[in-house]
């Protein structure tokens, strides 16, 4: 659990190697989807299609990256599900959001593995990726052919128009939440290493996720010791 380090003497393992690989597969596919989607979203960004080998290739690739994202996201979802269930402290956290934003965590209750903000990112991206998967298939010729063959379902033209509108709206919200997510990881120093090396400093855990730290330490003092 803990290892020695030069500046922080307590180091806590937060993510296994597999969890980190899973996270970065999700992150990379998300960014690729964002770029290829933006190319089709607004003419100013159409030049981004060059990154994917042209317009036809972008149109062809985007849904397949979407499938990769959906599968890998499901992996993260199952992995992190239990730690993201809502609890009472989440409401307190939200009620004291101004202390969160000003970095005064001493006014907050002790937090488990995830705070309410992280749980919000988790659940909203779960909903949004699901929406984008369903509406994305509704915009995708091969996907629709597959749905027709397997379920005998063919959407009406209005349903496909809704799919386009909802897909774009869900993507906008998802990108906004991505920005918040990335910003939080930059703003709260010491967070990146959780997803890079899988280990955080004891001070980081004490400051931001004290309840989780206590549990990890408790686990260390197992009956065997």
């Amino acid at each position: 659990m803990t290892t020695h380090d030069t500046d922080a003497r307590v180091r806590v393992r937060r993510y296994s190697g597999l969890a980190r690989i899973n996270h970065w597969v999700v992150a990379i596919s998300f960014v690729l989807l964002m770029l290829s989607g933006a190319a089709l979203f607004y003419p100013t960004f159409f030049g981004l299609t060059a990154l994917f080998g042209g317009g036809q290739m972008t149109r062809w690739l985007h849904p397949w990256i979407g499938v990769a994202l959906s599968v890998s996201f499901l992996g993260l979802f199952l992995r992190f599900f239990w730690a993201n269930l809502p609890e009472f402290t989440d409401f307190v956290w939200v009620a004291r959001i101004r202390h969160v934003l000003s970095g005064h965590e001493e006014y907050l209750p002790e937090i488990g593995k995830y705070n309410a903000g992280q749980k919000f990112v988790f659940w909203s991206q779960f909903v949004l990726v699901s929406v984008m998967l369903v509406t994305g298939i509704g915009l995708w010729d091969q996907g629709l052919a597959f749905i027709d063959q397997t379920f005998g379902f063919v959407p009406t033209i209005d349903q496909r128009r809704w799919a386009a509108l909802l897909h774009a709206c869900a993507a906008i919200v998802a990108v906004t939440i991505l920005i918040i997510h990335v910003y939080a990881a930059i703003w709260v120093r010491g967070t990146m290493s959780a997803m890079l090396s899988g280990v955080v400093s004891g001070g980081w855990a004490w400051r931001h996720h004290r309840k989780w730290l206590r549990k990890e330490v408790g686990r260390r003092i197992s009956p065997a010791e």
């Binding site: 180091r11 128009r161 920005i179 004891g202 001070g203």
Partner: protein, 300 residues
Amino acid sequence: MATFQPFDVIRKSASVTSTPEPNRATEVVKLIDTSKCIGCKACQSACLEWNDMRETVGTNVGVYDNPHDLTPNMFTLMRFTEWENPKSGNLEWLIRKDGCMHCEDPGCLKACPAPGAIVQYANGIVDFIHENCIGCGYCVKGCPFNIPRISQVDNKAYKCTLCSDRVAVGQQPACAKACPTHCISFGTKAEMVALSDKRITDLKSRGFDKAGLYNPPGVSGTHVMYVLHHADQPSLYAGLPDNPRISPIVEMWKGVSKYAGMAIVGLSAIAGVVHYMLAGPNRVSKEDEENAEKLAGGKS
């Protein structure tokens, strides 16, 4: 026949700054008089021949429509409807030549994300420029008339060109040329509207008191117009839309969602920068590390 040049582009898909509107060239119209159509499909054959397309041989399911729908090869299709007129008790055979209407306000062009894949010329013709098409099928969603079809062969969208290549050299569209009953006419908008007036007067004198011109205002008019004996009920003609317009869902998708979307994403990025400047980084303090050490005791 006059030459309808120049072929200036007045509208272009996915282009933020559209070309400044040049003096509008003479607008062309193809007028289809459903009351004269005998359903011979000469126009369909002429269309395949001029565009060098072939349709695979299908199966007969007991209807006259052949093929059963528009396809990436078949840009025009005779749709047959048998209708019992409740007033006269007559069985009427309504035959409509389906195909792109060349809308003045084209939904396909509005929806298309690929710059220059769909253009509208100064004479009103809406044309698909295949080398720019990415095959996304957005035009299918944008079109109020269910016209474009995506080819499974080259993944590009196809529809009637109004024979823009023939019109450019002063020829009429192939279908109009082939039609044996002069059901299909081609000319300037003024000429065609005048011709339709004559036809409508004639039809009215022969008992079709609801005869009229189909030039739907919801898409700012079309460059393919129908003379209908029952202009009060366009949908009798194999589901010709009564009040076609670009779907409000498409308008939202291609309008407010783009601007609102970019605003929301932009604002969240700005909010991040502002917050960082005000709050500064959230750093772990020395005390935090010491507290963690105390908590972990000697067990680290």
